[in-house]
Symmetry: C2
Subunit: 399 residues, 2 copies
């Protein structure tokens, strides 16, 4: 029997999905599970997007341009202009989700053995994109005490080597919900220029910024045009995860020509998704204001509930729809599994993602969980009540 | 300015698309271009599939299961059973086109520096999947004189090294249209077992077999269950290239568990495409018999026309909708470009793909072109007439 590759062995299983068999088991027992573990919003996809699908006109569902339909790319220019991002259609390559955008950039920018610095905790699947490219992720710690703010410059400089080729951020952040400020991004700009690094930015949660705070994009950083690579997606913006439509954006023409070769090899991004995403650009403003209001309420429920539980800490995230909370537990892996296997209160329980899966430093995040607030307020309140009850009886409670 | 990666530099531009700027230029001059260069069928997508999209029911377009919707995977079992392929839903992982299926397998099965043997000419994008994985493609020649039949075992054994991990075929073949026989596949089976190799098979043109010949799948090879990896796609079967739905199939459980980790990293295949592909499984048999009849006629036009031109040779392909023809020309790259830039007959011309792009051995295929017969019979006849006129006046004609 032929062997599996080394990358295949190294490739991590998704920390978000590895508990799924246990939640399936719990459901089989008739238990209700509140899912706070996944980034799948419950918000409805905008009607304009679904209408475009219902009225899909082509008789032959053909390949699109490898860079995506030109009508879609041109229409996106207006969307980005509103975000103070000035680009042309040639600066955009439409991808199959932000996932593919990140994979393209890793392959086009970094050699096997090259390093990319990412503040941790970070979106676990970045490892899943680094492994195929043979790239090493060098984590630097951000701390729950600072609300997961950007680590000091010294922390970056400590780990920069001749193999360091990029810094990557997710802003607003998954899993912490932290929203990087303009000042923090200016620090990254100076670092990227000083060491001639790419600055990769995953801004798929751009629309989810709370408390009136404005999102500042890496694309707004002057003088960094050749270094910045932006990853975007319609998945969260329009609650359209299944479209599988994202894009990679850069002003670096040599890089975009290179990424185009990878894009041509896989032929084209999904055609139906592109039609829906193009139509979604006409989503009325009220959609977003309602969503923002809803998520703000949800966040408030999570943050206040957890901070009211004894021995717990949850910073107040300014963006995305995640929070990382510290709990008085011995191991988040054990705790989250215990919640599904052994705990129930009135035949209900909660599913969360162990934050350890979002750290690449072994042993980090052991007493932290990631909570996605993608349920309605009433359900979140109930889930928080269940969490409180669970913490009272968890055998591995530390304080 | 940060550097492009070595893989980014090595990555080949698509040989099918590199002439597009010249055809665009020709069209700007008001010239009609007959496109024989691409694998985009003109056949209509089945109505059942488009209806499923028009009646798409979900309000939230969510991620699907990373392996694809279970309803779709279960329904596929029946389709494969009819092809004499006996599998379960767990043997299938739905992918974003066959492209992603091939990428997953390259990453999961081969280490950087490992080698994969492929008879050439071969589908050019295989290089585009090998480069990101750091894998080397070792070509062995198949010849136009034998109609591009499987090279003799000795040719395989000549190039097998300790780094050889797989043999790959495309059956029916793109670009040659050659249909491998059961006997040829048995030879590959013995080779794979003798050297403990994976056997990768791209069977996306399975439905396109002519002259009453039955397609024999690698999945039917007894005793090779742990070695065989099948790549499939709905793109050609249902003229549904834009769905971006394919799959990877294997009975090797360790391999499928490994591929699943790559599948989880990119979250899920496109949701709309899956719904349409699932519905397409109900496409009535008449659809395929009509398509087959149409393509048989088209093939006959191409093959007989070219073999009637002086100094030309075109084997009679038994499958797919491509043919590789030998023409009396100095360079297929120059000829195909000249057709677009300098030639016209009654303000019309022809676009074909230089076959050199389908060989990885430098200098091979210089007097060969790939022709996709994806136009109506009348248009193909006209295109063949134009080709004949062009050959009469081409300055680089050799005989």
């Amino acid at each position: 029997m032929p062997k599996i590759s080394q990358k295949g062995i190294t490739m991590p299983a998704s920390p978000i999905r590895k508990l799924v068999p246990f939640s399936d088991e719990a459901k089989k027992k008739g238990r209700k599970v509140y899912h706070l573990n996944i980034g799948q919003p419950d918000i409805e996809t905008p009607k304009v997007a679904l209408d475009a699908i219902h009225h899909y006109k082509e008789d032959v569902v053909a390949y699109s341009h490898s860079a995506g339909n030109i009508t879609y790319r041109e229409k996106m220019i207006g969307y980005y202009k509103k975000q103070n991002i000035n680009i042309t259609a040639n600066d955009i390559i439409v991808t199959t989700g932000a996932s593919e955008a990140i994979m393209f950039a890793m392959q086009a920018c970094l050699n096997p053995g090259d390093e990319i610095i990412i503040p941790e905790p970070f979106y676990a699947n970045y490892i899943g994109f680094a492994v195929p490219a043979g790239v090493t992720i060098t984590p630097i710690p951000s701390s729950i005490e600072s609300g997961f703010a950007l680590p000091p410059v010294a922390e970056f400089e400590k780990v920069i080597t001749p193999n360091t080729k990029a810094i990557m951020i997710c802003n607003p952040n998954n899993p912490t919900g932290y929203l990087y400020s303009k000042d923090e991004l200016m620090i990254l700009r100076d670092l990227a220029l000083k060491y001639d690094l790419y600055l990769f930015a995953d801004e798929v949660y751009r629309e989810f910024c709370y408390d009136g705070i404005h999102h500042f994009s890496v694309m707004e950083l002057a003088g960094l045009e050749n270094n910045v690579v932006l990853f975007d997606s319609v998945s969260k913006r329009y609650s359209a995860c299944g479209f599988r439509i994202g894009c990679v954006i850069s002003k670096n023409k040599e890089l975009m020509a290179t990424i185009m070769k990878f894009a041509q090899a896989r032929l084209s991004p999904p055609s139906f998704g592109q039609v829906a995403a193009e139509a979604a650009l006409d989503t009325p403003e009220e959609y977003f204001s309602k969503v923002l209001e809803e998520y703000t309420q949800r966040r408030n429920v999570i943050v206040s509930s957890i901070n009211n539980m004894k021995g717990c800490l949850c910073p107040n995230p300014k963006g995305a729809f995640y929070a990382v909370a510290r709990l008085p537990i011995d191991s988040s892996d054990r705790f989250c599994r215990w919640l599904l296997e052994d705990f129930e209160y009135e035949n209900e329980t909660v599913m969360m993602a162990p934050a350890s899966g979002f750290y690449s430093t072994k042993g980090s995040g052991e007493n932290e969980v990631r909570i996605s607030y993608v349920l309605k307020v009433e359900d979140l309140k109930r889930a928080m009540f269940l969490l409180e009850q669970a913490l009272k009886v968890y055998p591995g409670r530390t304080i």
